[in-house]
C-alpha cells in the first residue's frame, strides 16, 4: 500500500503539508511548555527526561501510556468521523458517559448470558446508547437545521447528569462512593499485560481505527459522508441524501465516542463510576484536529497525548512542575493547529531568510 493510499483521498503534497503543520504545532507547544518550566524555576531538560522515562521507561510505564491512549483514540475517531461529514461533535464527552453506563448496565442485567456472549453484548449496549445520544443532534441538524455544536454542548451536560442520577439513585452500589456494582468477570475486558491496567480495549481501538478507515475510504457510505463534508451542494446534485448522511455520521461518531467510556468501564474500573472522565471527549477534539481527521493520525496523536499525561505524573512526583502543565501543552497544541496560518507564516519567514 502506498503512502498516498494510507493517508486517504487527499493529494499527497497537501497532506504532507498538513503533517508538517501538526508536527510544528507540537514542537512549538513543547518549546513554550519548556519555557514555562524554566520560568517556574525548574530545568526543562530534566522535566522532559523524567516525563519520557515516566511514559516509556518500563513495561508498566508503557502499559500505563497505552491505557491512557485507548479512550483518546476512540474520542479522536469520533470527532474525526463527524468532521469528515462537515460536522462538529463537541458532544463526545456526554456520549462516552452514556456508553460507559449502559455497557455496565447491560453487563449487570444480562449476566445470565453465556460467558462468551456477555462481553460483546455489553459493548454493543454501550455503542447503541452512544449512537442514539450522538444521533439525536445529527437528526436535529438534518431535520430542523439546529446547529450541532450548540446541541452537543447542551447534551453533554444532560448526558453526564443522566448517568450521574442513575448511578447516585437507582443503580448505586452499597457504600459512600457513587458507583455501580462490579460487573461479572465474563464482561471484563481481558488484560493484555498482567498486573497492569492495559486491557484488550487497545485491540478494540485499533480495530475501530481500521474500521473507520475502511468505512470512510473503501465503502459507498463513507464516500457519501465525505462528499457531504466536502461540499453539500455538489453532493446533493450528485444525488446524495444529505439528511441521511448527517444523521448517520453523527450516530457513528456517537458510537465511537461511547467506546471510550465502554473500554474504560469494562477494562479499567470494572464498574461505572460517577464523573470518571477527565475530559476525554474534549481532548478528543484536539486528537482529531492534530491527527488531521485521519485514523492513523488519530492513533499517533492519541499515543502522544497518552504519553504526555502518563509521563507528567512522574514529572509531578519527581520535579517541582505540576502534571497539569501537560494540559497547558495540549491546549497550546490545539490553538496552533486551529490556526495553521501561524505555522505557515513562521515557515514562510524561515524560507525567505
Amino acid at each position: 500500500m502506498k503512502l498516498k493510499d494510507i493517508i486517504g483521498g487527499i493529494s499527497r503534497s497537501e497532506s504532507v503539508k498538513d503533517v508538517y503543520i501538526s508536527l510544528f504545532s507540537i514542537l512549538l507547544a513543547l518549546i513554550i511548555g519548556a519555557f514555562l518550566i524554566f520560568l517556574i524555576g525548574s530545568s526543562p531538560l530534566q522535566a522532559f527526561t523524567v516525563m519520557l522515562d515516566g511514559a516509556f521507561g518500563s513495561v508498566s510505564n508503557i502499559a500505563n501510556t497505552l491505557t491512557k491512549t485507548i479512550p483518546l483514540i476512540f474520542t479522536g475517531l469520533a470527532v474525526a468521523v463527524a468532521f469528515r461529514c462537515g460536522l462538529f461533535n463537541i458532544g463526545a464527552e456526554g456520549q462516552l458517559y452514556l456508553g460507559a453506563f449502559f455497557s455496565v448496565l447491560t453487563a449487570l442485567k444480562f449476566s445470565f448470558l453465556p460467558a462468551f456472549l456477555l462481553l460483546p453484548v455489553a459493548i454493543l449496549g454501550g455503542i447503541i446508547s452512544g449512537m442514539i445520544w450522538g444521533g439525536i443532534p445529527g437528526f436535529l441538524k438534518a431535520q430542523f437545521g439546529t446547529h450541532e455544536v450548540v446541541v452537543t454542548v447542551m447534551m453533554n451536560y444532560i448526558g453526564i447528569n443522566i448517568t450521574s442520577y442513575l448511578v447516585n439513585y437507582p443503580f448505586k452500589a452499597e457504600g459512600w462512593v457513587a458507583q455501580t456494582d462490579i460487573i461479572p468477570t465474563a464482561a471484563i475486558l481481558p488484560k493484555l499485560i498482567p498486573k497492569t491496567q492495559l486491557s484488550a480495549g487497545l485491540i478494540v481501538a485499533v480495530i475501530a481505527a481500521l474500521a473507520v478507515y475502511f468505512l470512510l475510504w473503501k465503502t459507498d457510505i463513507g464516500y457519501e459522508i465525505r462528499a457531504v463534508g466536502e461540499n453539500q451542494t455538489t453532493a446533493e446534485s450528485g444525488g446524495i441524501n444529505i439528511k441521511k448522511n448527517i444523521s448517520l455520521a453523527m450516530a457513528i461518531s456517537g458510537g465511537l465516542a461511547a467506546l471510550a467510556g465502554v473500554t474504560q468501564s469494562l477494562g479499567v474500573y470494572e464498574r461505572f463510576i460517577d464523573g470518571f472522565s477527565p475530559g476525554y471527549g474534549f481532548t478528543g477534539i484536539a486528537v482529531a484536529v492534530l491527527g488531521r481527521n485521519h485514523p492513523l493520525g488519530v492513533i499517533l496523536t492519541a499515543l502522544l497525548f497518552g504519553a504526555l499525561e502518563t509521563g507528567a505524573l512522574k514529572m509531578d512526583r519527581v520535579t517541582e512542575v505540576s502534571n497539569d502543565l501537560v494540559i497547558v501543552i495540549q491546549g497550546l497544541v490545539i490553538l496552533f493547529v486551529a490556526a495553521p496560518e501561524i505555522i505557515r507564516s513562521i515557515l514562510k519567514r524561515r524560507e525567505s531568510q
Binding site: F88, I90, V150, N161, A286, S322, D324, L335, E341
Partner: protein, 305 residues
C-alpha cells in the same frame, strides 16, 4: 403550607446573586457572537478571570486590584481568541475548545507555582458587600440595596448599557449588521475587524469579571476548575436569550432560580441532577422549537474575505 417553604423571600436575592457570573459571561458571549465570532471559550475565560482575581488580591491585598486583574486576565485571553480567529482565521470552535483546555491547565499549574498547593489557592481578601443608604429603607425593593456585591450593580449596568448600545445606537446597528451580513457591512464602510476585536476582547473581560464574582464574592479563594461548567451555561443563556443582552440576563435569572430553589428543596425528592440539567434542556427545547427561525446572527462562525 409547603409551597412557602420552597418559595420564601430569600429566594429572590439568592437568584440574583447566582445569576451575576452567568449573566456577565452570557452578555460577553452575546457581544462576541453578534460580531460573528463563536465563543465556546467562555468557560476558560471565566476560569482565567477567577484565577486572576484571586492572584491580584493575593499580590496587593486589595480585592479591587483583584477585580482589575480579572479584567486584564479576561482581556488577555479574549485577545488570544480574537487574534487567532480574526487575524489567523482559525476555526472558532476549535480555538474555543483550546482556550478552555489551556485555561484549565494554566490555572491549575499556577496554583502549585504560586501557593505550593494542590487544587486550591490560599484564602485572600474578598470583595465585601455594600448597602446603599436611604435606598435600603424602601420597602419591597430594600433587598436590592442591602448587602449586595458591587459587581452585582456593575452587572445590572452592563445589561442595560449593552442592550441600549446594541438596539438603540448606530454602534449597535453596525454590530448587528456585521453579525448578519459582514460583507455588506464592510462594503458600506464599517470597520468590521475593529468591531470584532473589540467585541471578542470585551467578551473575555466580561467573562473574566464573572469569574471574579465566583472567586472573590461567592468565595475568597481560587479552586481548580471552580467555574464547573458555568461558561457553558452562559453560552446556553446567550442562546436561550436570543443573542440579546436582556434575554441573556433573563435566561441567567431563570437558570439560577432553578439553582436557588435547590437550596430550599432539601427533603423534597427532586434529584440535583435534574436541576443541573434544566438550563440545557430548556435551551435545547427553545432551539428545536425555533428551528430555522432561530435568532442567531446569520453569518455566525463565518469569516469572510
Amino acid at each position: 403550607m409547603e409551597i412557602f417553604n420552597v418559595l420564601n423571600f430569600d429566594l429572590i436575592p439568592l437568584t440574583l446573586r447566582l445569576a451575576v457570573p452567568i449573566a456577565l459571561a452570557a452578555i460577553g458571549g452575546t457581544l462576541s457572537e453578534r460580531s460573528g465570532i463563536i465563543n465556546i471559550g467562555l468557560e476558560g475565560m471565566m476560569l482565567t478571570g477567577a484565577f486572576g482575581a484571586v492572584y491580584g488580591s493575593f499580590l496587593t491585598g486589595s480585592p479591587w486590584f483583584g477585580v482589575i486583574f480579572a479584567c486584564l486576565a479576561g482581556l488577555i485571553i479574549g485577545s488570544i481568541h480574537a487574534v487567532l480567529t480574526i487575524k489567523y482565521k482559525a476555526n472558532q470552535v476549535v480555538t474555543g475548545v483550546g482556550i478552555n483546555i489551556l485555561a484549565m491547565g494554566f490555572t491549575t499549574t499556577m496554583i502549585k507555582v504560586i501557593w505550593g498547593k494542590e487544587g486550591m489557592s490560599d484564602e485572600v481578601n474578598n470583595l465585601s458587600d455594600v448597602s446603599i443608604p436611604i435606598l435600603k429603607e424602601i420597602p419591597l425593593i430594600d433587598w436590592l440595596f442591602t448587602d449586595q456585591s458591587p459587581l452585582t450593580y456593575f452587572m445590572l449596568i452592563v445589561v442595560i448599557l449593552s442592550w441600549y448600545t446594541l438596539f438603540k445606537t448606530n454602534l449597535g446597528l453596525n454590530l448587528r449588521a456585521i453579525g448578519d451580513h459582514p460583507r455588506a457591512a464592510r462594503i458600506s464602510g464599517i470597520n468590521v475587524t475593529k468591531y470584532r476585536y473589540t467585541c471578542v476582547m470585551l467578551s473575555g473581560l466580561l467573562a473574566g469579571l464573572g469569574g471574579a464574582f465566583l472567586s472573590l464574592v461567592q468565595n475568597s479563594l481560587f479552586v481548580q476548575n471552580m467555574t464547573a461548567g458555568r461558561g457553558y451555561m452562559a453560552l446556553a443563556a446567550n442562546i436561550f436569550g436570543g443573542w440579546n443582552p436582556l434575554g441573556s440576563f433573563v435566561a441567567s435569572l431563570i437558570f439560577s432560580f432553578a439553582q436557588a430553589i435547590r437550596f430550599n428543596m432539601i427533603g423534597y425528592n427532586i434529584p440535583d441532577q435534574f436541576i443541573q440539567s434544566l438550563p440545557y434542556i430548556l435551551t435545547l427545547a427553545v432551539l428545536v422549537g425555533a428551528g430555522r427561525k432561530t435568532r442567531a446572527p446569520e453569518a455566525l462562525g463565518e469569516i469572510d474575505e
